[in-house]
Amino acid sequence: MPSTLYGIYNAQRALSLNQAAIDIINSNVANMNTKGYSKQRLEISQASNVAPYQSPVDATQSGMGAIIDSVTRNRDVFLDNSLRRETTDLNYYKEYTDNAVQLENIVNELDDTGLNKTLNDFYNSLSQLASNPNDFVVRNSVVQNAITLATTFNNTYTSLQNEKTGLVGDINNPDTLTQSKLSIDINDLNNKLSAVANLNDQINLSTSQGMTPNALLDQRDELLDKISEYIPVNITNERNNTVTLSIGAIELVRGKERSGFFEIQAGATNDNPSIVQIKNDAGSVFSTNAYSLITSGKIGAILQTGGDDPGKLTIKGIMDSLNSLASEFATAVNAVQTNGRYIDSSVNPNELSDNLSNPIPPSAGTDPDPEDFFVDSSGLGVINAGNISVNAIISNDPYQIAAAKLTSNLTETGDGSNALLMSQIRNQGLAVLGGATTQGYITNVTGKLGTQSKNIQDNYDIKSNILQQVTQKRESVIGVNLDEELTDLVRFQRSYEASAKVMQTLSQTLTTIINMMG
């Protein structure tokens, strides 16, 4: 036989249980729009009627009411994992798309300002020069077009270099290594790894004390979602609700320890200015170059765009193409230029430069042999897209363009056959450019860049759709549905009222007995 007041205890327990249920509804409704919040549920079960303070004989008769088992989160680990995998891929393609589109904008050959257009203008003005070798205005327009062409090469190259420096830095300027996008993202990532380790610690503590730290778990899930944006990370659930994070076989977080973090080392060459290592606080290096581990995520895309992988769309690849073009073009033009005769404007009437027979320069300071048309402004010794420039001797005196052929007579200043040869370089296939003409090569580079960029953008679109679906699926599990909460609210409110009624009835019953006694 239970005690007299037993029913009142039961009713009181029911009241507080319903109160707790309403509190949870309160929290759910309040966090209806909070990102990362998982809907919480009160797990209620029938109270066991076997209690230590009761004799087993009495325990079979009536129920003992309800008790709270736990407050759980609506969560589906499978969905979480697939969402994180998709997040990693999506952010890889998102970052790559941004970079690819930026590269397409820099190497823009569809409008009227690209290399193609300036090359065209240069060749055309040479062709005009071939018909009018004496005409200073035509000579000057060749020089102006050559300068525009060289500047276009230089500007495109510089923009590409700046883009690369912004992504992964430049070893010649160590400050840029710490200010690069890669470096900022790596710092973020390291901080987030530390935060996960801290949360692991707190969660472990609460869980071992028998509590369910739902808010902390939500917080950590949100962090894990964020970390998945950066790198492809494996997440393993361990005991006491802690998680272990690893990339490849290298552990990043275990329990409360951040067992591995990322650090940038300056590369040996500017082809790969930033090398990402994985080490721990004690200084042990687990991976000297994590490039092959970070195959995806935002950081993966940055590493690939800024790296030198020939199979990928890289800034270096495009810069190399431009360098080959600039150097081949300059070599071809210079070869024709130095094999001709320019007009010596210091002689009156003008004569061709006497580079055949006359050992004395025609006038002080001028060399009888034609000077190179294009030179390297950096003194590097090799012409590339960054340093190609018009020889100052030619830009100061356009008559120095060797428009005439070597075999012309001194007075034959009307010979433009060498200029014609120079303009015909546009139709020549150049060996280093894979047999393509200069402009054909630009078409190839544009086409390759376009195809690679299109491919990345297509993948981005596909991944966006997939991620949207998975996100919605997860939202439908962890999110709050207002109708549901309101229904529950009504349910628990009624239950609360009923429990109160029970208590009132019990109280009246007792009153009846007490009054009878009195």
Binding site: M32, N33, K35, K39, A100, V101, E104, N105, E109, L110, N116, K117, N120, Y123, N124, S127, Q128, A130, S131, N132, N134, D135, P349, N350, A404, N409, T411, E412, T413, G414, G416, S417, L420, Q424, R426, Q439, G440, I442, T443, T446, G447, L449, G450, T451, S453, K454, Q457, T471, Q472, E475, S476, I478, G479, V480, N481, L482, D483, L486, T487, V490
Partner: protein, 319 residues
């Protein structure tokens, strides 16, 4: 029946996503319409992008070739006019020569005829020095110093590039060049006292060939107190040969002109075709794009309307 648990975040995220997609499609179409271009970067349509770049190359070249052809045509026309006048001069000379051979012509007539022939010599020299722009067109590669000069009165020397290495060529299509000038030496000839100053053993002698040699020889003969009529008659034959040379030169010019004309019309056809290809690759179909824009606007409005209705109701409205 299966159903998805629709949560509030689910609904709002879905709505926002759909609205974003609709809006970005709309903006994309608006950009296309305002720029008139279907592609702004190669990845928008790789094949079209490549075709735009390569047609730009070809169009740039064609533009240049057409400019070269126009220039060459004007230059050839100038040469043609000069040759026509030369032919007239030769005709006149022949008439004058026949007059000189006339039995009734005395020394006085000879002097008058000679004066006229001297005029013609001067005229032929000036024709040899015809300019196109600032270029002497009959000087070969030597377009600047005057090609025909008179070192001594009564003699005319050609200073330009020698016949055979006189051609100035322009490019009129890929890899095809065409000469735009004739050898002044071949057409007009020369006649002057060669100055063998390097070889004292050889006496300085009058030397030359072609029309100018004939004219000057004729003039010199007429200036003699008793001109040799046989010699003058011989010059008449030479004049016929010289005339033939000029006529040949004229027909050469004619064939060059017609070659230029033909190439020009081919290039213009190419230009038209390439412009069409380029336009097809990069320009939008206005009617199609505008109707797509209208369709997209309707879609956006519909999704806005539906969204506002979906967000509103909840159980709260009925409690």
């Amino acid at each position: 029946m299966q159903f998805t648990r629709i949560t509030n975040r689910y609904t709002s995220e879905n709505i926002v996503n759909n609205l974003l997609i609709n809006r970005s499609k709309l903006v994309n179409l608006q950009e296309q319409i305002s720029s008139g271009k279907r592609i702004t970067k190669p990845s928008d349509d790789v094949l079209a992008g490549i075709s735009v770049v390569s047609t730009n190359n070809s169009l740039g070249k064609i533009e240049n070739y057409l400019k070269n052809i126009d220039n060459a045509q004007s230059e050839l026309e100038t040469a043609e006019t000069a040759l026509l006048t030369t032919i007239d001069s030769v005709h006149t000379t022949k008439e004058l020569t026949l007059q000189a051979l006339n039995a009734s012509s005395g020394p006085e007539e000879m002097t008058i005829i000679n004066a006229q022939i001297k005029q013609i010599i001067e005229q032929v020299k000036d024709l040899g020095n015809t300019k196109y722009g600032s270029k002497f067109i009959f000087g070969g590669l030597q377009t600047e110093p005057t090609p025909f000069t008179a070192p001594v009165a009564g003699e005319i020397q050609y200073n330009g590039s020698p016949d055979g290495s006189h051609e100035r060529r322009v490019e009129i299509s890929d890899g095809v060049t065409i000469p735009v000038n004739l050898s002044g030496e071949a057409v007009f000839g020369e006649y002057y006292t060669a100055d063998w100053d390097s070889d004292v053993m050889t006496p300085d002698t009058l030397d030359g060939q072609g029309l100018l040699k004939t004219l000057i020889s004729l003039s010199n003969e007429l200036a003699m107190p008793a001109p040799d009529k046989d010699f003058i008659r011989q010059q008449l034959d030479s004049l016929d040969t010289d005339m033939q040379t000029v006529l040949n030169a004229q027909s050469e010019l004619g064939s060059l002109s017609s070659r230029l004309e033909m190439t020009k019309s081919n290039l213009q056809d190419d230009q038209l075709n390439l412009t069409k290809i380029k336009s097809g690759a990069e320009d939008i179909d206005m009617a199609k794009t505008i109707s797509e824009l209208q369709f997209q606007q309707t879609a956006l409005q519909a999704s806005l309307q539906v969204s506002s209705q979906v967000i509103q109701p909840s159980l709260l409205d009925y409690m």
